[in-house]
Assembly symmetry: none
Homo-oligomer: 130 residues x 4
């Protein structure tokens, strides 16, 4: 996993959690990787991973079974969707829209770029599958 410079690493790991849960890869009741293991996999400081886990715990997305590890909660998928959607609609979209206007771009251009982007995504997934 490569990290962007624009966002803090622990938040990018949070995004990684969000997308795994929303995509159904990590299901309620399942164990998530240990802090130590994920730190090794992602090549980051364990403290950084721990920060994400604390955040996930605060939001009731994972729970700690002492001495055993962290597990995805039952309510995780719903909670994550709420969180991601709220931020998307109230923070991200308005900014996208105003930038769109500022640049004098039409909403159609955004739609066509979306389809373009989607086709590259599909391609990448195919490549991964092979």
């Amino acid at each position: 996993m490569e990290f962007s410079k624009h966002k803090s690493i622990y938040m990018q790991i949070a995004d990684y959690f969000f997308s795994n849960i929303l995509a159904g890869k990590w299901k309620p009741g399942e164990k998530v990787p240990s802090v130590r293991q994920l730190a090794i996999d992602l090549e980051v400081n364990p403290n950084t991973v721990m920060r994400t886990y604390t955040l996930m715990q605060d939001k009731n997305i994972i729970v700690n079974q002492r001495g055993i590890g962290f597990y995805v909660t039952e309510e995780a998928p719903v909670r994550v969707k709420e969180i991601v959607k709220a931020q998307f609609l109230t923070d991200d979209l308005p900014e996208v829209f105003s930038t769109l206007e500022l640049l004098g771009m039409e909403i159609q251009e955004l739609t066509s770029r979306y389809h373009q982007w989607k086709s590259t995504q599909t391609q990448e997934n195919h490549e991964k599958d092979q």
Copy 2:
């Protein structure tokens, strides 16, 4: 001007420059507010404003006339558009698109939200005009 906590103040002042130039309010050859004056207007420390000015100078958006002040360069509108567009297309959009997918939203919903947003904007402007 109100500042968001998520972004540094000097970068938000940069955004303020960008939108003023893109919207044609600040034209090439025109003088921009003095560092001190803008600091007073925005209620921030002059150093913070200076930081933005140095950044804008590095990007050839403003030039300093010694002892007189800063002026918008001829190339400013083009440069700003480049900068804003590049960031929008390569950083912002991909993230919007993947969030869209993650949430299982259709691109149509985004379009309709755009029109909705636009109508509220128009309203706000009307209110301001009165």
Copy 3:
């Protein structure tokens, strides 16, 4: 390190970086002193050092490893040489040459003064070594 009055401190610290990198004392991949530490060593304010680091970062001479510190980039030696040489050839030399003419000095005199200067340098180094 003593600072001259004719040049700003943060630029003199930049020169210090340049000469360390060109002389091969600071090699690509190596860590440079932390902002705080260098501020203490040079007896200046951390903000002043930070200013140099930001500059060096903009010029791709150092990169930040978040939470860890700054490292010399692979391209640093090449970049520094470019920067120093460009300034030397286009800014410094022409002025030296015109002053030379103005003073009615011959280029030979400059050459002989160079050898003279070099011998004093060698002496100084010997003294330091002992």
Copy 4:
């Protein structure tokens, strides 16, 4: 006359004085342009020119005949040569030499660049003469 950004304007005007006097264009006893006139010619603020004149007066290069104007002193050529030479030998040259070393350049290269530079100068003068 074009001004460099690296040096203050009033110092560049001082250089202009120095070169005119050393080159024998402005001779002892002759009147120099009025502050006002020179400001117009050079397209700078009269205060800036005045600053140069004050400097020149302090160094006994010009004297003020009240109500009439400024005149080149008898000792001007000698004084100017002293000033320029002292600065050149003690400030400029050592820096040039150490940069030369830092860049790993040979003194011969400097000599050849000098001849190159001189030929372009001669050319320019011929063009002006015509």
